[in-house]
């Protein structure tokens, strides 16, 4: 049973029953992961903090609807983060397309991706290469690589098949290699 192996299951059940100390412990345990995912998806620190707050509001609201047989709490939490990101995007936040944050590609749409990456610091080049990935490829990569979810957990969080996750990951990594490795030799 997933419930038996899930270290967060007892906590989320207590939250559903209105246990405030459990909610506080959940924030302390999960806030850094929620913030990291939101930041890597949207690319903006302030936006990521707003997303994190929205995510925990939804956790308090929907803790009672979490089902142990559906997904681990951590996977369920990642799904909520993605949903909040998607909702904010559809509400008019444009960071998915433009890359947002400190690296604004829209300011100069002329150069190719490879040209745009040239001359930046390594960190900025990687950031920018991530930002230029299609949203679903970026989400799959961030969930598996940075959040350390398995492909199955990523599939559950993204509500797609494992095969689809593997396809997204393969395309994302191929694109990143072309942009980050091949362009610099």
């Amino acid at each position: 049973m997933l419930f038996d192996k899930d270290p967060d299951a007892a906590l989320i059940r207590r939250i559903a029953e209105g246990d405030e100390p459990a909610a506080g412990a959940f924030v302390t345990r999960k806030l850094h992961r929620v913030l990291a995912l939101a930041h890597r998806i949207c690319g903006d620190s302030t936006e990521a903090e707003d997303i994190a707050q929205d995510v925990f509001n939804r956790v308090w609201k929907y803790a009672g609807s979490w089902k142990k047989d559906d997904a681990k709490v951590d996977t369920w939490l990642h799904r909520i983060v993605l949903n909040v990101c998607h909702d904010r995007l559809s509400a008019g936040h444009r960071w998915h397309e433009v890359g947002g944050m400190e690296l604004d590609m829209q300011a100069d749409p002329g150069p190719t991706p490879e040209e745009a990456l040239a001359g930046r610091s390594t960190r900025d080049r990687v950031w920018q290469a991530l930002r230029m990935l299609p949203a679903r490829q970026r989400e799959a990569l961030v969930l598996t690589y940075y959040q350390a979810l398995s492909n199955a957990e990523t599939a559950s969080a993204m509500q797609i098949s494992v095969d689809a996750v593997e396809s997204l990951l393969a395309r994302a990594r191929r694109t990143l290699k072309e942009r980050l490795l091949d362009s610099t030799g």
Binding site: A16, E17, G18, E20, A23, G24, V27, T28, L31, H32, L35, A36, H39, R40, S45, A48, E49, A52, Q53, F56, N57, W60, G64, T122, R123, R125, V126, W127, L130, Y145, Y146, R173, L176, K177, L180, L181
Partner: protein, 108 residues
């Protein structure tokens, strides 16, 4: 060739590792902690079957109110005939109503 691809994967991973994420500030932690709603959740959230119990209760109360209304409406009909009158023996279907034309014909 496979070794080259593994090396490229290793180099890509090393590059991806350069992207860090912001730490959690005390201010953000306090902001999120402030969203924790005080008090206990609703009884329905704690015990979902309570909502079903509420529906059953509402149905019982509704049925009782309907029965009371019907009894109040039907009471004048059943008590309209004075005690001992032959009309009192009429069944509900047998109306004791007499058309007024009968009286007019007698006057003529």
């Amino acid at each position: 060739m496979a070794w080259d691809e593994l090396e490229r994967d290793r180099r890509l991973d090393a590059l991806l590792d350069t992207v860090d994420s912001p730490g959690v500030s005390a201010l953000l932690h306090a902001r999120v902690m402030a969203t924790i709603a005080p008090g206990r959740p609703s009884l329905v959230r704690q015990h979902p079957w309570w909502s079903g119990l509420g529906l059953v209760g509402a149905a019982i109360v509704g049925a009782a109110a309907g029965a009371l209304c019907m009894s109040l409406l039907l009471a004048p009909l059943s008590n309209s005939a004075p005690p001992g009158s032959p009309d009192g023996a009429l069944s509900f279907r047998e109306s004791a109503f007499v058309p007024p034309t009968t009286g007019i014909q007698e006057e003529d």
